[in-house]
């Protein structure tokens, strides 16, 4: 039995290291899941005189998508959101994070605007309240203003189909 001990130890280590290879270190569990979304009130991107706040969306299931014109991965994600917005399943609010207003507006004009409207978070403070660290990020927020899901990184069609859509349906059905 002792003869196989080194082999056994090796196998255990290999399994653990193998699991480690398939973990994404960028995916940090958010402490905000199942907590009320942080309160915010920001000027809108298109109309600086108007504001958008968390409580404006109360009673609706909605998505908050953090984006910026300087964010390369956002370009990859954007067509997926534009496509999704056409289905009018759920309102998407943009959070234009640490961006210049002109750049943000030009970006939307160029690539399409999937957002009901965008909040303009120039100093990134609302982003910090939402624990944003890797744009793009997407939150699903329920009718009571509670964060139910967070995606760090690009929303792919598969993630939309398998994770976000079922959750949105469930949240809309139950309450």
């Amino acid at each position: 039995m002792n003869r196989y001990l080194p082999l056994g130890i090796f196998a255990v280590i290999a399994v653990f290291l193998g699991i480690g290879l398939f973990l994404d270190p960028r995916e940090v569990p958010s402490p905000l899941i199942d907590k009320p979304a942080p309160a915010f009130s920001l000027p809108q991107l298109h109309e600086p005189a108007k504001t958008i706040s968390r409580d404006d969306m109360k009673g609706k299931v909605w998505l908050l998508n953090v984006w910026a014109s300087w964010c390369v991965a956002c370009r990859e994600e954007h067509p997926v959101l534009v496509e999704f917005a056409r289905t009018k399943t759920v309102p998407i609010i943009g959070l234009n994070y640490k961006d210049e207003r002109q750049d943000g507006l030009r970006w939307l004009a160029q690539f399409g605007d999937p957002y009901l409207l965008s909040a303009y978070d120039n100093d990134g403070r609302t982003g910090i309240d939402f624990g944003v660290y890797g744009v793009p990020e997407t939150f699903v927020i329920d009718k009571n203003g509670v964060i139910r899901y967070k995606r760090i990184g690009v929303v792919t069609p598969a993630i939309l189909r398998e994770q976000i859509l079922p959750l949105v349906r469930q949240l809309n059905g139950n309450a």
């Binding site: 270190p25 960028r26 940090v28 569990p29 958010s30 402490p31 905000l32 640490k98 100093d123 990134g124 910090i128 309240d129 939402f130 624990g131 660290y133 890797g134």
Partner: protein, 160 residues
Amino acid sequence: MRKLVLLALMALSVLGPLVAARAHAEPLATESELEKHVTAIAQNLRCLVCQNQTIADSNAALAIDLKNQIREKLGQGMSDDQIVDYMVERYGDFVLYRPPVKATTLALWFGPAAILLLGLFMLFRYLARRRQEQPADVPLSEAERERARALLGMADEESR
């Protein structure tokens, strides 16, 4: 008189570098207490963009924003713990370079010690068993003694 000048020159040559060193250290000394405080807190927080750096070390935009937040909160009179809690509320335990001891981190905190103890236990068990398996000291029989003597004698002759 000449001795005195010489002495003064020697003193100067010894003290000169000290003065120069002081001048060099000046920029650090001017760093305000507030900045030191900010850095002290930031050194215990992980930058989430570049995960193996602290916020203090990192120049990522987010790290700079968070340092500004720390500075602002200190200005508002928040304590260190309150500021750390503020970060944990938003970014989770992952921002802490020293994760708290709780059910999910038990393996992290005590795993290495447990593995060490297990290793020591196995080592001692192995040594104890080997000691048991070793034959007790039995004196050589006369025939064996004769044979050993012959072998040693041969070796003696060969080496000569």
